[in-house]
Amino acid sequence: MPELRTEEMTINMGPQHPSTHGVLRVELVLDGEIVVDAIPHIGYLHRCFEKHSESMNDYQQVIPYVDRMDYVAAMSNELGYAIAVERMLEIEVPERVEYIRVIMAELQRIASHLLAIGTYGLDIGAFTPFLHCFRDRERILEIFESACGARLLYNYIWVGGLSHDVPSNFKDKVRDFINYFPPKIKGYNDLLTYNKIFIDRTADVGVLPPEVALNYAASGPVLRGSGVDWDLRRNDPYSIYDRFEFDVVVGKGEMGTVGDCWDRYIVRVREMEQSVRIIEQAVEQMPDEGDVKAAVPKRIRPPEAEIYARTETPRGELGYYIISDGSMSPFRVKGRSPCFVNLSVLPAISRGSMIADIVAIIGSIDIVLGEIDR
């Protein structure tokens, strides 16, 4: 019998595909169901963020564009940008503003992780956790809405302060949420995290060893999932994170190898618990009175300088490299987006897995295409 001729099949996953979380295109080279190579192609959502920022005539005007980078964690993006510009200007923001910022950023982290684990369930085929996550995310969005009127793109954290003060019942609302939320995490764990099929699908899949993760400069839950104990909130504290007690969650390989998809997933779930802890402390310590716009400069004209400021967003290290030429508009704003860097790991960890694993891996990296393409 003559030998059967076989050949590899090249297939386009995306840009329109339910599980690429946006307009990502992955060129898959398949041998049956086995992935020989996966080449990501990005840029479908490129909106020239950096070019736009250069043409703004005020540093404050960049903030709405920053919102639209990682549109599911806009607060964290604003915080990073505000901190970068504030460091250039060397302004101190009022105590109360710092607390509100931390509460907002941590609420945003919970909201973003809820979206991440919900859609991850969806990728694996479990539909119900997704809507349960959205139910709880809704409560956070309500808090944001009451503070700034927007639910997705806030333009709330300004350079030197905030756009509005929080409403008078803000603390009660946040306390309600932190009382309501922790039992729900247990619900997710029962429904999804410790489900046998879910574990089978994610454990030992897409293993990212710690040294590879560092070499690729992965950050956030992707890096911590690989067992690297690195969190900018603790290792390079910004704002007032050094005042709070919280644990940095790392993947331990409980269900398989350290750095598999399940580890990246569980890091997100446990980080939500830690965020609740931070919010609890912040609400207790937050001063009741104070002008949130006290330090907002009338005109922002930084000295001729450059800065790289980094913060820990839900997806990892968000860095802003800002160069000022001494004028009112930024000379160069580069956003170092965590997803851009995290996604570049994809080819390295997906070779040899199956098509269904590609979906699991992309989901566990938790990408937002708005931030990758900027």
Partner: protein, 339 residues
């Protein structure tokens, strides 16, 4: 029953057509209801309400509206597809599913065809669905469809083995392939049902239910159309009513395996309370309610569980279900010999 109809109708052929169309009276309204139920069940499991507006009470006519919408949609056939196969596949799929209803005893008085090899016929004729899915996947000329179709054929062919062995356990216990005879053997109270007659038949039922889930492509075995991986699997290129036919087939298949399960294990059209509420019309009621119960369980599973990966799916079948099914078959036979 054909004879009774022949007395009223002018031509014997008309009587046969009418006789053949009778299951349609159950299947079509059932599909409309089941799609609505699926939406409601999923909605309530997910803390939401589901359709609430269409038709007034809890959106009862949502699926009717959807069906009208689907009929009105443009019939799109991809230009590079194999046109004949592409158009024919959905009909073949439904034909296979519908043909199987011929031997389901809906009541003590109604069965489409009094075949002595009823159980065998069902297992054979439902395989046509596999063929139609392969046709659809191939004819679409789309790589995702092809992958979906290949997965399906591998899956259904594999899972047919444990299904058949589980059905065989019942046949070993009853000694007949005729589904009507099997139903009649279970007349009496709930304790006459086959599932309680033999402890190993209980295991056979669990095996049957799991593998039938895979045969009708329901979660956790919904790989052929796994939306998040293969876009839409074999139905990616289908739209409008042709897609609706696949949907119809899927739900008809669900009903079929549920009804077969209740015939084989849960007393078919027999009332659980002996003579109380029994009779030909009550028979239809019991049959459909038992079927609906299993369909509800399927929906319940679908909205709870994630999906298996294709290699794990095969592992479950070949490494666990098939060996257990065969051992169980021997044990059923031993039990029948001893007691």
């Amino acid at each position: 029953m054909v004879e009774t109809l022949e007395q009223f109708l002018p031509h014997p052929l008309l009587a046969i057509i009418m006789h053949a169309a009778l299951p349609m009276v159950i299947v079509f309204p059932y599909v409309l209801f089941a799609v609505w139920l699926e939406r409601k069940v999923s909605a309530h499991m997910q803390d939401r309400l589901g359709p609430m507006r269409t038709g007034g009470w809890h959106g009862w006519s949502q699926t009717i509206a959807d069906m009208i919408k689907m009929i009105q949609k443009e019939d799109i056939v991809p230009s590079r597809s194999d046109k004949f196969l592409f158009k024919f596949a959905p009909f073949l799929a439904f034909m296979g599913a519908y043909a199987a209803f011929a031997v389901i005893p809906f009541s003590s008085e109604y069965i489409g065809a009094h075949l002595d090899v009823g159980a065998f016929y069902i297992l054979a004729v439902t395989s046509v669905v596999t063929l139609s899915i392969l046709m659809a996947g191939w004819a679409s000329n789309n790589k995702w469809s092809l992958l979906g179709a290949m997965r399906t054929s591998a899956q259904i062919v594999s899972y047919e083995v444990p299904t058949v062995v589980a059905v065989l356990s019942v046949i070993v216990a009853t000694g007949t392939l005729n589904l009507m005879t099997i139903s009649e053997m279970q007349t009496g109270t709930i304790f006459n049902w086959l599932i309680f007659s033999n402890p190993f038949l209980l295991i056979a039922f669990v095996l049957y239910f799991i593998s039938s889930l895979a045969e009708v492509n329901r979660t956790p075995f919904d790989l052929p159309e796994s939306e998040s991986e293969l876009v839409g699997g074999f139905q990616t290129e289908y739209s409008g009513m042709r897609w609706g036919m696949f949907m119809l087939t899927e739900y008809a298949d669900m009903l079929l395996v549920s009804l077969l399960g209740s015939v084989l294990f849960f007393g078919a059209w027999n009332s659980p309370f002996g003579d109380f509420m029994s009779g030909p019309v009550w028979g239809v009621f019991w049959m459909v309610s038992k079927g609906m119960f299993f369909i509800f369980v399927m929906m319940w599973l679908r909205w709870t569980l994630p999906r298996l990966r294709v290699d794990q799916l095969m592992d479950v079948c070949w490494k666990y279900l098939i060996p257990i099914a065969f051992i169980n078959l021997v044990l059923v036979a031993l039990w029948e010999m001893l007691f």
